[in-house]
Symmetry: C2
Subunit: 196 residues, 2 copies
């Protein structure tokens, strides 16, 4: 029998990168165009098109049932209008797949939503192990002043489904208030029936 070989990737403890990552996904503001609510602020920032985050995909692991994928994400601090820098957010293509986020540095929130728009928010920081159960869409948000860094692990056959969040958003969003992050209703939210 052919066995997939064990492997180790070292996470750089200073910056959360994986120097020997199999692949690195860089997401700039233009990759999230239309996801922030303040279109004027977004348009102004698009001139510089800042880097929002990088995902260091650890290894080339088969995307098959039984395997696990893992990666680190380095999400920069900043705002677009009053919305913090965030990841695109997705459901899993295999909706019954879950995910574990282990916080390595910074201050963040893990925003989650059921297909029906019920919201759950969990804190992210060094040492926080946040569990995203099956069926919950999820997005990471950097509410601090330094990089938010975390390790993610998930079933290799989970896949990604960006459409429902790209089109309908989350029912609530996290904005910078006078006393820090606030969870507020998203005026642009649209439930995507049967799309969760």
């Amino acid at each position: 029998m052919d066995y997939f070989e064990p492997l180790t990737r070292f996470v750089d403890l200073k910056d959360g990168t994986i120097p020997t990552a199999h692949a690195v996904q860089s997401r700039h503001l233009s990759d999230l165009k239309g996801l922030f609510n303040d279109a004027t602020a977004e348009a102004a920032l698009l001139t510089d098109d800042p880097l929002l985050y990088e995902v260091f995909e650890a290894a080339d692991i088969p995307r098959e049932d039984g395997h696990l994928l893992f990666s680190t994400t380095v999400l920069r601090p900043g705002v677009v209008g009053n919305e913090y820098f965030m990841t695109k957010g997705h459901y899993h293509a295999r909706a019954d797949r879950s995910e574990l986020y282990y916080g390595l540095a910074g201050e963040g929130l893990l925003l989650m939503q059921t297909p029906e728009g019920r919201i759950n928010v969990q804190p992210m920081r060094a040492g926080s192990a946040c569990y995203v159960p099956p069926y919950w869409g999820h997005r990471s948000i950097n509410v601090g002043t330094d990089n938010l860094v975390f390790l993610a692990a998930y079933p290799a056959d989970a896949g990604y489904r960006y459409g429902p969040i790209a089109e309908g958003g989350f029912a609530e969003i996290v904005v910078a208030g006078s006393n820090g992050p606030e969870l507020v209703r998203n005026p642009r939210y649209r439930e995507m029936p049967g799309r969760g």
Copy 2:
């Protein structure tokens, strides 16, 4: 539809424990009786029956396909004869399930073996993300002088199969040599055909 609720567990960054763990498994030397090769040294130490390791099972998550379980392990430093303190070691009951180990502190080795007795060893330390692919039996070994601490994540339906390693051992073992850890042939190893 009923959704399992998201949750967060905080790993204590000083000692690797999860203070709000759902369950804690404590493994003393008596729980590993017969697994160390030096029976005389083992018998002498059994009088005190030292604690070898504790596993902090994060949460009460359904042991079903699609979910993930996660835990931290705190493995003490020490030796039984010339063999370092180690975990019992197991295959997964669902042999095609994998596991991710993320090192938090200390110095260790992750000893792995195919059902046919082919060995692979990976380093464990703060920042090491070690991937145990499907079918590989695995055991953690503390080769340092402080606690070895790591986070583990694995499919919730993986289960545990201790028998083959309890009865046949690993084909090679890690012993304390004059220049540090050495991998040597295990004279007591027996392949467990069809038991992997």
